[in-house]
């Protein structure tokens, strides 16, 4: 029998998605896992890695936390798959398209961004 991947496991025709019939224990486990991931972010902050590696690790952990919150706390996993995929594709596209400025950030790291000097006194002092 073919499985309709557009429907979530507990969505019946004509009924709203997300029936809230699953066990509470699952959400307690997700909550504890999210807390542990948050704690590991704080541990990464005090590791001896350089800023770039630290940023990469923290971003990975933040995405894992956010994914768990989205899928389970916001019940995106229990919605119809087409809804889930539509939201995921559109949001990821927008967030990805925003990242165009990073090469310019590295360029200005060499040439300095405006107002980025350490001087606090006006430069036109006589």
């Amino acid at each position: 029998m073919m499985v309709d991947i557009t429907k979530a496991p507990d969505v019946k025709p004509g009924e709203p998605a997300v029936q809230y019939r699953d066990s509470l224990g699952k959400y307690i486990v997700v909550y504890i896992v999210i807390l542990m991931i948050a704690a590991s972010q704080f541990a990464v902050a005090y590791s001896s890695a350089d800023v770039t590696a630290m940023f990469g690790r923290m971003l990975f952990l933040a995405l894992a936390e956010a994914g768990l919150a989205l899928l389970f706390f916001m019940h995106l996993w229990a919605e119809k798959r087409t809804f889930f995929v539509s939201i995921a594709v559109f949001t990821l596209f927008v967030l990805g398209a925003m990242q165009y400025g990073w090469t310019d950030a590295f360029r200005t790291l060499v040439g300095h961004a405006p107002y980025s000097t350490t001087e606090t006194q006006p430069t036109n002092q006589q």
């Binding site: 969505v11 025709p13 004509g14 009924e15 709203p16 998605a17 997300v18 809230y20 509470l24 959400y27 307690i28 909550y31 999210i34 807390l35 948050a38 972010q41 704080f42 990464v44 902050a45 005090y46 800023v51 630290m54 940023f55 923290m58 971003l59 952990l61 933040a62 936390e65 956010a66 919150a69 989205l70 706390f73 916001m74 919605e79 119809k80 087409t82 809804f83 539509s86 939201i87 559109f90 949001t91 927008v94 967030l95 925003m98 990242q99 400025g101 990073w102 310019d104 950030a105 590295f106 200005t108 790291l109 300095h112 961004a113 107002y115 980025s116 000097t117 350490t118 606090t120």
Partner: protein, 212 residues
């Protein structure tokens, strides 16, 4: 049979109506909240990317957050917000199970946690202002630090405060019978989103700028 009836239910021998069940089986108010969440996540992403651009492009970016009290405060705030998300989840589950008393209780507890978060955050702001941090100056380094810090955390704080107000209003009206479990569920989506944003704000603003 009116045109609206034909559109909704069909004209009998002509088959199903034009307006069948909603797309994705998601009620319109829930769909509206999801669309708002997508738009707001783009706003926060833009703020965080702009912050990241500035931080990366500025050689003298300050790293002022000592373990005590700044990072400990951030830990407590993170724990409060994640736990409030769990409380909201429990409230929505109780509402869906038609347990109004429990749903109201969990919703008010969520609002209380949100207030605690806002209080801690404002206390932190006052501490930083006492140390001399302003929008365009600070005693440590780049003058852009203050503007970016207060802008990003202030935007998040305003979402938290708005969420607390909404929780109190919707919770009270839910208990009074004006709103139902679906309304609580939609509000829950917003509150989880606020928590989700904090998961990105903490590493960007605090953890990458710890004082070592």
């Amino acid at each position: 049979m009116s045109q609206a009836d034909i559109a909704m239910h069909g004209a009998g021998q002509h088959g199903p109506g034009v307006m069948a069940e909603p797309a994705f089986s998601v009620p319109s108010k829930k769909m509206a909240m999801w669309l708002f969440i997508i738009a707001d996540s783009a706003t926060f992403a833009a703020c965080l990317v702009a912050y990241g651009f500035l931080r990366n492009a500025t050689p003298n970016w300050p790293t002022p957050f000592a373990f005590s009290p700044s990072i400990i405060n951030a830990m407590v705030m993170t724990f409060i917000l994640i736990t409030s998300s769990l409380f909201m989840l429990l409230g929505v589950r109780a509402a869906k199970a038609f347990d109004k008393t429990a749903a109201f209780r969990w919703t008010m507890l969520t609002a209380l946690m949100g207030l605690a978060f806002a209080g801690l955050h404002l206390r932190e702001w006052m501490g930083m202002i006492d140390e001399g941090v302003r929008m365009f100056s600070n005693p440590w380094g780049s003058s852009l630090f203050g503007a970016s810090f207060f802008a990003v955390t202030g935007l998040h704080l305003s979402h938290v405060v708005g969420g607390v107000v909404a929780l109190i209003v919707v919770g009270i009206r839910y208990k009074g019978g004006r709103y139902n479990a679906d309304d609580l569920e939609v509000l829950g989506l917003y509150w989880h989103f606020v928590d989700l944003v904090w998961m990105f704000v903490v590493p960007s603003i605090y953890l990458l700028n710890v004082k070592k």
